[in-house]
Symmetry: C2
Subunit: 96 residues, 2 copies
Amino acid sequence: MMDNIIKKLRAARKTKGLTQSALGAKMGLPQSHISQIEAGKIDIRLSSFLEMARLLDLETMLVPRSLAPAVRSMLSGDGEEASRPAWQPDNEEKLS
Amino acid sequence: MMDNIIKKLRAARKTKGLTQSALGAKMGLPQSHISQIEAGKIDIRLSSFLEMARLLDLETMLVPRSLAPAVRSMLSGDGEEASRPAWQPDNEEKLS
DNA sequence: CATTCTTATATGTTACCACATATATTGAAT
DNA sequence: ATTCAATATATGTGGTAACATATAAGAATG
């Protein structure tokens, strides 16, 4: 479904530490509109989607279905390499 | 820009040997509308785009910009089956 | 040529996104 | 509890995609 891909936009925004207002400012849109979009309440135009993705440093790509799993596995290691250690000594207790 | 990705839809349709009418039938849309879309004359809704891609066996994916080149190179060999070597002697770019 | 297949334009109606603006709700922090 | 930040809802207008239908232009085929 489509709100799946929309949810990725929201996740990307949060990852970048942007608020809806901040993103809205970049796009020249009011925060309220960003909210509607992310909530999947409206069916935005393709150009709006592409611009929003671009502003979040995401590229929209069309992948042949047969290759999608391979691409997905490539993407599964989050965002980029320079961020978090590949693992962490699992420390079961008390993390909040 | 955006008509770039639209052009890929047209290319995919042709690759699959579908006419605008045939694709339109699958989507429940008139051929005239498909023509407008492919010509980049209208700015379609995201759901329409996603469905069109899906009917052409294409998956719409959001790829972090930093990983886009790697994904692109993965896709550069004509979108066919899984019978390609996973790997090829470092032939860096050369993209479409 | 004529005929068929494919694609491009044209016109009109309806539905709804884009946008503005305002307010409400949630949530965190002090 | 009272701010203040972030997000969610609400209302209204204008523009345009979605859709139907019709026709014209191109491109092949016989």
